[in-house]
Symmetry: C2
Subunit: 462 residues, 2 copies
């Protein structure tokens, strides 16, 4: 473990000199506000919270921190689910709250350049008047910087890709204070090493994103929604494969398990049956495409034994159908007063999805644990949600988490499809990556030899 | 420049021990066959050509070469256009001719695992019976390994992405002989650094790909083609932007300039007018989608002043319409007997496309050079094709190449959209990447400290 230097009064003074007095806070309220994310991971205070307003300020801060061996943890808005932005080694917490501007809209290029602190929902509200949007949507109003750092994904990844698929160029501040540009505004790039994607998903451990040019897509003119119940997860997954194989290009292909459907019906009267349920969404430029597509989807579902099929192209009805999916988390929390939730994230090749779900059902039943499953089935990604209210129920959920991760790896999957490694998945990295983890360590040592960037994350026992 | 060790008889003997006597050749015919690619770059002989049949053989060869500081240049089938696989420092030429198998088809996962030496056309012929295909298509029957190493792209990138967007997992042999696995068969990946994309596009200079799991897509059930003439490049590009903005999701959006259209008409009677011409292709799961889409595209083209618009959903007619585009290179070569062609590759944000083309027209006219332009307009990627038959006409093309690259960079683009850096673009790397090039060098030094992997490529003056 690295020996870090404390944030002394001299360092505070130097930070004030670099960033201005207003941008440097040691107020307890600021420390507390940036000590934990939305996960179960314990809070840990930084020694100082800073609010840079320019890339140069970020770079100069890193140069100072590197010279004195002080940890720097970048912070978007704290919606992480694996402790990704908790400053577990103290030091400097770098908030991007004040770097939240749109730098330029390149409408004809279907691109926008932003500062990292902008929320993706706020960005999309601005982009609506250009008829464009940035598709990745992790649910919460995460910042673009946080999304890129963690390769966040969400519901519409099956059509539009994850964060890493929707970024072209970034400015990155390195540990030694260099500011570099990676990628290009050209959508085709074959010039040298893909540093862009090396920094994307590196969770702030290799460099800090200070600006990003994102790929945008046209806001769909027409949308439809489908809700379909199946008697088994296997039948639902066969439907997922058939819909993807049909070339109908779904924009969302979501699954909730029977337990989740039952809970939604019982607690809020959501009109669902107690079966594995698929939620689908389709986007089209023309109404004809949507209508013909829905007919096709219905045929596929009927062929695969759908129990009930509902579809609509009407906006209000679509929102009503999807309400249960979009608000499933809040509904779940409301229906379990006094309980907290641990949400775990794994992903497998879609053919292994029924096996994974069956494994989760078996081990949770064995341990008498309550668990709800909600998944981005089109991507083979699933979240198991464990309510807990005692040390015992928390420990049980943690133990099950470990078993499910190892099973996902055994099935050819990954320990995390979209939440990132952070603190919670670090210990599984050797099992997933083997000797590749040594290559990751070598790259980390090359770019951040003093280990100042978001220490304690990604790598086990560091 | 590194001092390399020659391939001595002892090394040949050691290679025979590792790979078997049949897999090691010093025959002049084999040396000659692997001394040049399809570019203008001068041939250079390797000292030995090897044909490994297993990943372990590749890794053991690298371990030996690394211990003795001998260059190793990986070779697919030699269709590179920038000298990417020419063994300019001699040493070992590693051909993947005998590692050309399909390892596994994961049809329900829309994935296939292959050895790197398989040609993408051969792969797609096999995949047809599963109703699936690997979309990147650089034209020639390049190997999958070569395509991944160079991030090859081609005509249908606007819908399906480049090679880097269609790979999930690879096995890679490192310079020191370690065999590692990068990426995952899970389509969603947020676990650690994206080493997969670090190796993709690194042109064999960081590691050698020994196996790859590719993303596949359903073979489109219905396809349409459009050929449309416009009076100016600007009008054609406005159409490109409008078609992309419509959400109609074109599968190809190609441009040829008026000179190219004229040449095709005059030499082979291709029914084209002497105007900038767009070729488009659309893929759909349902015929209704295609018909409605074509109507929309026609309206967009008419609104933007199309001179002539032809469209079809008939397969034979579609092939006839696209013939000129698909065979433009052969037709061009046939119509210039005795001349060779230098094909250059740059890409810019689409809004800069008219400026770039206008620049090319201006400088070629200034120098009295003949040049044809053919481009993947949907991606802002263009190839300028220069016929030459004298040292003077070659030098003129080289000089124009340099000017066009620098202009593309000035317009926010890249020195290469899909041909890679190889030998030809290395000198432009500092202009494009600035300090990022130092980061690339640091990563190269970390993974290949002796510089044995494909030396002389990507970096200038190495």
């Amino acid at each position: 473990m690295n020996a870090y230097h404390p944030v002394t009064p001299d360092i505070i003074e130097a930070l004030r000199g670099i960033l201005g007095a207003d941008a440097v806070s040691v107020a307890q309220a600021d420390i507390d506000l940036h000590a934990r994310d939305q996960s179960h991971h314990p809070a840990h205070p930084a020694e100082v919270v800073i609010f840079p307003t320019t890339a140069e300020g970020v770079a100069a801060t890193l140069k100072l921190a590197n010279a004195h061996c002080i940890p720097v943890t970048p912070w978007g808005v704290g919606t992480g689910l694996e402790g990704n932005a908790i400053p577990v080694r103290g030091g400097i917490l770098m908030s991007f709250e004040k770097m939240n501007k749109i730098v330029a809209v390149h409408a004809d290029d279907f691109q926008v350049t932003v500062q990292p602190g902008i929320g993706h929902k706020d960005l999309n509200a601005e982009l609506a008047r250009f008829g464009l949007f940035f598709p990745p949507d992790p649910g919460a109003n995460a910042t673009v910087g946080g999304m890129l750092a963690n390769n966040a994904a969400g519901i519409r990844t099956v059509k539009y890709g994850a964060s890493k698929d929707n970024v072209l160029k970034m400015q990155v501040a390195l540990a030694d204070g260099r500011l570099i540009s990676v990628g290009s505004r050209s959508v085709k790039q074959a010039s040298g090493y893909d540093l862009l994607h090396l920094f994307v998903g590196s969770e702030g451990t290799l460099g800090i994103i200070t600006e990003a040019t994102l790929k945008l897509v046209p806001v769909p003119m027409h949308m439809s929604a489908v809700v379909a119940h199946f008697s088994t997860v296997t039948a639902a997954v066969e439907t997922v494969v058939a819909v993807r194989g049909s070339g109908l290009d779904p924009a969302a292909l979501e699954l909730i398990d029977a337990a989740h459907a039952k809970m939604l019906r019982e607690t809020e009267g959501v009109p669902l049956k107690d079966y594995p349920t698929l939620f689908m969404e389709f986007h089209a430029a023309l109404p004809e495409t949507l209508e013909a597509g829905l007919k096709s989807v219905r045929e596929i579902c009927e062929e695969l034994g759908v129990i009930e099929f509902r579809a609509t192209t009407d906006t209000a009805e679509r929102k009503r159908l999807w309400h249960a999916r979009h608000h499933s988390y809040e509904i779940m929390v409301r229906s379990h007063p006094g309980k907290q939730f641990f949400i775990m994230d794994v992903a497998v090749p879609i053919s292994a999805y029924p096996d994974l779900i069956s494994f989760v059902e078996t081990v949770t039943a064995r341990d008498g644990a309550t668990a709800y499953m909600i998944g981005h089935a089109g991507d083979g990604n699933i979240h198991v949600e464990f309510p807990y209210d005692t040390p015992e129920s928390f420990e049980r959920a943690m133990k099950l988490n470990g078993e499910i991760v190892m099973q996902a790896l055994k099935l050819g999957g990954t320990a995390t499809g979209e939440h990132g490694v952070g603190l919670g998945k670090a210990k599984y990295m050797p099992y997933e990556h083997g000797e590749s983890l040594d290559v990751m360590r070598a790259i980390k040592a090359t770019l951040d030899p003093n280990g100042i960037l978001n220490p304690g994350k990604v790598f086990p026992n560091e």
